[in-house]
Symmetry: none
Subunit: 248 residues, 2 copies
């Protein structure tokens, strides 16, 4: 096996898992730990990953405060993302907003899926960086440094240029009457994305169901599909079914 091949495998392992260990890698590649150690040091010096004690972590331009938010309820979000994935077909054009469940979906997008993703979220764009087929259109605008996404009039105008197949909506708060969130500009953005997509799919962990926040986005009944981590037969989903929303 070529050193180059080893390097590629190490990079792939590191970027897909976020990290990799000497122990695992030296077993997988059938070389000594020292060799892996030297490989990782070399890749580090080239800036392709970061060597740490015990192995390596992937370099990411995405700030840590975002990462922290990301890690809450990660398992539920993965379940939600898997369900959402079944809705995506080849050649579709999709809106992805800055929600963390949506980000999870971006991460598990299969490599053979050929889609165009329009987003205002840096983390989403970053997750799709190594995807071979996904075309990414980034929405311009003023950068919000907290959520690491763009907002404002420019972003809204950008959205209005499209009419996409599906909008994957990261839900902040949902009640039987309204969809709402904690930030005015985020509310404006989410409304615009709903208006410029054929179908809106809400991604939502259970704890956000039946809650309301300051900024109204739109009536809940405008939602087409709602995905949570629970089974669709779970009782509190009934009121939503009555509104004509499909539960997944």
């Amino acid at each position: 096996m070529l050193k180059e091949d080893r390097h590629n495998i190490i990079l792939e392992e590191t970027s897909t898992n976020g990290s990799s260990s000497f122990q695992l890698l030296c077993k997988k590649l059938a070389v000594s730990e020292d060799t892996i150690r030297r490989d990782i040091r070399e890749l580090d010096s080239r800036g392709l990953l970061k060597a740490v004690r015990g192995g390596a972590v992937s370099v990411s331009r995405i700030p840590h405060h975002y990462r922290e938010r990301e890690h809450t309820d990660i398992e539920q979000k993965k379940v939600i993302a898997k369900k959402a994935l079944t809705l995506i077909k080849n050649k579709q054009v999709l809106f992805f907003d800055g929600g963390t469940s949506v980000l999870e979906l971006a991460k598990i997008l299969p490599a053979d899926l050929n889609v165009t993703i329009i987003t205002n979220s840096f983390p989403v764009a970053n997750a799709l960086e190594d995807h071979p087929l996904a075309e990414v259109i980034f929405l311009g605008g003023r950068l919000n440094k907290m959520s690491f996404a763009t907002f404002g009039n420019e972003t809204l105008k950008g959205i209005s240029k499209f009419k996409v197949d599906i909008y994957f909506f990261g839900i902040c708060s949902i009640s039987t009457s309204s969809l709402s969130c904690k930030d005015l500009e985020d509310a404006e953005l989410k409304l615009a994305m709903m208006q410029h997509s054929v179908k809106t799919v809400g991604l939502c962990t259970w704890d956000k169901v039946n809650s309301e926040s300051t900024y109204f986005i739109r009536e809940t009944k405008e939602l087409d599909i709602l995905i949570t981590e629970k089974d669709k037969s779970a009782s509190p989903s009934k009121p939503f079914t009555k509104l004509g929303i499909e539960i997944l």
Copy 2:
């Protein structure tokens, strides 16, 4: 067997597997390892694959990531960035393109500087994340996964909405007659940024001075200031001074 046939087999083997080794190839083709070695060296020089220790890897597999570029000549780039910093005043609005020297400038921007930075580069936006005062406007468009920056018509239209104070131009190639670069879309973008700024400041490591690339951007004389890591009294900067360009 013709040499051409061997070359074709080597290329096919390399591109289908992503890599190929001398050992395998010399067995498969029933020639000595030296012959394969020479073949691969020739194919490398023609840019059809990349020779590495032990064999060859396919060129498509080697993404020219900015992450890799970022680490070369880092010290020179820091010197350049420090000089560029002296040009920036409070309340100014600036264009930053995706050059690595420009990125270095974004990294060292003092915390008390209150500026608006308009960029198409994710790394630049990311570098400014922790800056308390810098407002960041991100230019939308199609995301290029290699350079991790946006390009295309949308991006150009975004640029045309502004007339900024200074454009910090990451130079790819500069001769006394022309500014040029290796990518058509990058050339378009750089031209647009020049046209929509009052002053253009070129950031350029010495090794790029007096070189030319495929895509013409604009006449060199349109540049207002040129910054390199060398002292301005360095002799080869004279021809540029003659064009009315200030050297820093």
